[in-house]
């Protein structure tokens, strides 16, 4: 039973078919790679899964519940978290607060308890603080906890985005080009981190990435899109040899 499955999902923008009758199934704690040339519809798939767009047709099932057309925030609370291709941190907030915000979706405090500062509210705040710092330690950001997010170097901002997504306690994590703009050393570290996080928290990962070294290095299954349609699905070694994939990337001879 896959944790997430898309069946015949189509997303049209006017005359443009960005995603065409896509079928996709991710198993529990699987590392699933989604690749394709520029404009193949990878980010659109992300936006359809996370509720930014409502698919034109087709169904999306997460943990046997149908989620297509639901609001973004609700899908996150169901257990799907994401990062963004162009980093979207809360730049004026501290690193610690960035993570805390993501914890809030699971928190039981209200406005009245906040104004009255009830003991329960304080306990909850202390718990969130401790758990957020714990998470930052895992992502080696604990020494930067009080720094503003915008002052972080690029690689750390990428890591913080993943840490923030993890704070929502997802069963499925969507990473949109996490290695973009990283140097080879940083992307190696990122690969170890993604693998470690998956093993440690046991969630499934859907990875969109242009860096083939990262995709082929960590993904258990790779899905290749071109012009919104699937052209190949399989283990990395097979995909690398697939003539259709080579043609899509390099052009026909």
């Amino acid at each position: 039973m896959p944790i997430l499955s898309l069946s015949r999902v189509t997303m049209r923008f006017g005359g443009l078919v960005a995603v065409n009758e896509l079928d996709l199934a991710i198993e529990k704690s699987q590392l699933y790679g989604l690749i394709g040339p520029n404009g193949a519809g990878k980010t659109t798939v992300f936006n359809v899964i996370t509720g930014v767009y409502t698919p034109t047709s087709g169904g999306i099932t997460f943990e046997s519940a149908s989620i297509e057309g639901e609001r973004c925030g609700r899908i996150t609370r169901r257990g799907i978290a994401r990062t963004f291709q162009n980093i979207r941190l809360f730049s004026e907030m501290s690193v610690l607060d960035n993570v805390k915000v993501a914890f809030d979706c699971r928190q039981a405090t209200t406005l009245t308890t906040a104004v009255l500062r009830t003991p329960k509210h304080r306990a909850e705040e202390a718990r969130v603080d401790a758990e957020s710092r714990e998470l930052l330690k895992i992502f080696k950001l604990d020494h930067l906890a009080d720094e503003r997010a915008k002052n972080l170097p690029y690689g750390s901002q990428r890591r913080l985005e993943i840490a923030r997504a993890m704070a929502t306690a997802p069963r499925l994590l969507l990473l949109d080009e996490p290695a973009a703009g990283m140097n080879p050393h940083e992307s190696n570290e990122l690969m170890d981190l993604i693998r470690w996080v998956r093993d440690h928290f046991g969630m499934a990962v859907l990875l969109v990435e242009h860096n083939m070294k990262v995709v082929m290095g960590i993904c258990e299954k790779v899905h290749v899109l071109d012009y919104g349609s699937t052209i190949a699905i399989g283990p990395p070694a097979e995909i690398q040899k697939n003539p259709k994939v080579i043609e899509a990337y390099l052009g026909g001879a």
Binding site: T50, R88, D97, Q107, L111, A114, V115, A167
Partner: protein, 338 residues
């Protein structure tokens, strides 16, 4: 328990200060009534500015109809105390005079807050579901609708204004509510809910993707802000004893915006500073009344060029000072790279 002690201390200080300033505590010791009035209006402006900052500064949703909510509070509470004041006082006759007045004022302010909050909810729900500047447009229109409606309600005097309101508010009540507003906004902002508000200001799409119910958070913030504006309006009416629809034009809304922009959007102490600065300038420049708005425009332009984030920026006064000190001691190039 510590909180209660602090609150009791504050009430006592305000009470004594009120007595000293008005001359009722020690005969002959007082300040001029004009000066006292300026101080009290500054207190009302502090309430207005801090409450507007909750929605404009911290949540990042631009509301430009704060005077409308103030008008609702002013007129509803004044109508209540004028019409039902005596009936409410009768069963309270065992209380001393200031006790009766206090109860009456508190009930009036509660009505003001509830009605302003309801209005905020009605305005906020449709316009805050969208991203962008819709709230600004809707609130601008809303403020005018309220003013024109009042202008045509004869029961509250219409264009003649509403007079004969009992003087129930004084320095004590005004600053008690200013302090309460600051406390509530401070606690809201420094809570998990406040973090989601700032996250919405920083990046609404990312906030939604982190599981924040953005519409709900924005509406709550707007309703709380509106209720506080209603209270400020109630205090305003019961302090000046006369209100007129022309006190609540969109110029009044802009005055409050100027206060928070000068002080710093997203800074509570900045709003207090902005409110005090604004009223000091208005009163200090009374002789040049016709040039006042020109001076304010110039001031605003200068601030936008020199310090677009306002005097205190996003920071509070205390951290503003400590940050300064720390950044001097740091090696060059290690501080902010915006």
């Amino acid at each position: 328990m510590k909180g209660l002690a602090v609150a009791a201390g504050l009430v006592a200080i305000l009470f004594v200060a009120n007595g000293l300033l008005s001359g009722s505590l020690i005969g002959g010791v007082s300040i001029s009534p004009y000066f006292l009035q300026v101080i009290c209006l500054a207190g009302i402006n502090i309430t207005l500015a801090v409450s507007l900052n909750l929605i404009n500064g911290f949540t990042g949703q631009f509301s430009i109809g704060h005077a409308g909510f103030m008008a609702i509070g002013a007129y509803s509470s004044a109508y209540f105390t004028v019409t039902f004041g005596d009936r409410l006082r009768a069963p309270l006759s065992f209380l001393p005079e200031f006790g009766q007045q206090g109860v009456l004022l508190l009930v009036g302010l509660a009505i003001a807050a509830v009605l302003a909050a309801i209005a905020g909810f009605i305005v906020g729900v449709p316009s805050l579901r969208l991203r962008g500047d819709y709230l600004a447009i809707v609130t601008l229109g809303f403020g005018e609708i309220i003013r024109v409606s009042i202008l045509n309600i004869d029961a509250v005097g219409g264009a003649r204004g509403f007079s004969g309101i009992p003087r129930l508010a004084n320095f004590f009540w005004i600053y008690l509510f200013a302090a309460a507003t600051i406390l509530v906004v401070y606690r809201v902002v420094h809570s998990s809910f406040g973090r989601t508000l700032v996250a919405i200001r920083e990046d609404e799409i990312a906030a939604e993707a982190m599981g924040v119910h953005t519409t709900r958070a924005k509406v709550i913030s707007f309703v709380v802000s509106s209720a506080m504006a209603g209270i400020a309006g109630g205090l305003f009416a019961h302090f000046l004893m006369y209100i007129n629809p022309n006190s609540f034009t969109f110029l009044k809304s802009f005055e409050i915006i100027i206060m928070i922009v000068i002080g710093g959007l997203g800074s509570i102490t900045g709003s207090v500073l902005g409110a005090v600065l604004f009223i000091s300038l208005t009163e200090g420049l009374r002789e040049f009344a016709q040039y006042r708005m020109i001076l304010f425009s110039l001031l605003l332009i200068v601030i936008m060029i020199v310090r677009p984030q306002g005097i205190l920026g996003h920071r509070e006064f205390v951290t503003f000072l400590t940050r300064r000190r720390r950044s001097i001691g740091e090696a060059p190039g290690t501080t902010g790279n915006n």
